[in-house]
Amino acid sequence: MLKIKNLHATVAGNKILKGLNLELKAGEVHAIMGPNGAGKSTLGNVLAGREAYDVTEGEIIFNGKNLLELEPEERACEGVFLAFQYPVEIPGVNNTYFLRAALNAQRKYRGEEALDSVSFLRLVREKLKILHIGDGLLHRAVNEGFSGGEKKRNEIFQMAVLEPTLAILDETDSGLDIDALKTVAEGVNRLRSPDRGMIVITHYQRLLDYIVPDKVHVLADGKLVATGGADLALKLEEQGYAWLEDGGIATLDVDSVEQMANP
């Protein structure tokens, strides 16, 4: 589904990603962990097509298409969804109205009929029920005045309605208390499907207690430096990220170890 080869990206002239390789198959959930500043969020933003991020080398192939040639909205229509670390508040734009406009833009792109408001509301109610989210957020402006937990839930709700084939969750756990974290994780788990790939970007192992990944990657200094199973996350939690600098990778029982960018 997704192949990232030798990805290099810069932000405002600073090199952030320095040769990242990743392959994700449909149905898989991959976690990407790493210390602050490793480039985790950059990866999410590059995948979604944020303009401030310049890809200087490498390629991203998504379902046979060169993702880097597509505009952000085309990527969305092709099935890419980024759950934002900091969802944007849009005063005055009703959440339901916005989501329907987005869904219908995607349906139009795929040559499908637009959903009328009645069918859309039926769909929305169904999704809210599955995710155990109240309908209060439907009547509010997009993320305006939402608490941290509400914003993240709203991202998961959007994901459920838009049904992407590739979902990237960018630090969806940050700033959440344990109850909100559980609700969000539960929502994500309900959206796991054989046709959908997911990349869960997180700093802490905590989220992975609830969303058990098929693979865990360690991102450090712009590259994936280690890949393992779900238990890798636990080891990281025990030892922290400090060992990365000490060449501690060798002590880990991992599937593969890549050369550090600056040995």
Partner: protein, 433 residues
Amino acid sequence: MSELSAQLIAALPENFGSGPGWLKVLRQAGAEEFRAHGLPTRKDEAWKYTGLGTLAQGEVMLATDFEVMVSGSTHPKPLVENELQINMLDGQFLAEIGNQRPGLTVLPMADALIHGLTGLQALLESLTETQLKTGSTHGFSALNSATLESGVVIHVAAGTDAGSLSLIWSTRAAEAPLLFNSRICVILEQDAKLELLEHFESPNDNANTSNIVLQADLGVNAVFQHIRFQQESDDATLITRTEISQQAESEYAYYGFDLGGGLVRHDVHTSIKGSGAKSAINGAYLLDGNRHVDNHARVDHIAPGGFSDQYFRGVAGGRGRAVFNTAVCVHPGADETEARQSNANILLSARAEVDTKPELEIYADEVVASHGATVGQLDEQAVFYMRSRGLSEPDARQLLTTAFCRSVSDKLADQVLGELISKRMMDVMPQAE
């Protein structure tokens, strides 16, 4: 003095004849003031950013003969069907559609001037007085007084809820562009209530100028909701002035929507003369092409315990130019006043311009006042967020600008009307360049 002013002075009627003596005096005073000052120029502080260039070049003729209007002219379709609708053509009372509720009196100005109506003389005379007090010479108002004849008088008896009334303004193309003067007087007695929807729309083939003054006197505890929607033709000039006087506990709410017009100037001024009165002055303006829209809003808190809220949102694209001036003056003795001013603007083009100026003067105690004025671009984070969900860039921008202006139409209690105005705004929303 400009050539246009000289032309207009020459065209002023010689004789201020028909009607009662006070009316003759009032017209004469207007004529004298206009002869002395003419139309405003950029040298007048209140007109610094708004020149009459395009108007002056247009060789506008003063419309002075008040002939009976031809019937069958096409009038714009009202936004909503109200119980009572008055069609105004070329500044004059053309037709009345619907029924007047008991306690509501609506008369053509000319009839009211001849037959008289309680409070009308005092209200008309108060305009000059207000001008003297605020020290603002307003040539257009003087011209309006000098030619006072056309318009509408609306009177609501004490304790009456008069419901909703529409005033639909339109002008016809003439051989040469014309300048029409018209006066609306609204008298709400104690505990009276009225909703007035003014709608300005003319066919796109004329370059007329409308100079309209609306004066309202709100009795104790009266409620006046005033919605003003204009989508005038690109070459039209619309000069309007709204002058409100508020007694204790009365409420005035103004919602202005400027979607059209080549040169638009609107002055809205409320005087809070009785304690505990409330004034909410809201507006949205959308400019594209070469349009120029100037809004001047001012609240004078004279009595204590008043509340005022000025809320304006503007979007300027193309070579559009918006001028916004919001002023609050809390006079000595107007203690415990609360006054808010907020103006935010979005510029969509490098050639568009917004001049915004908040003014605040406080001479009383225990006053809560806030003001803010911003001019900026669209939130690019929000644009990206929307695109990342599948919306095209133009759609994302349009949704954002419309939402920005919707914050004004959403304030309307009538949601159906708010929705209709919001759709109209979306239709004319300037595009980003």
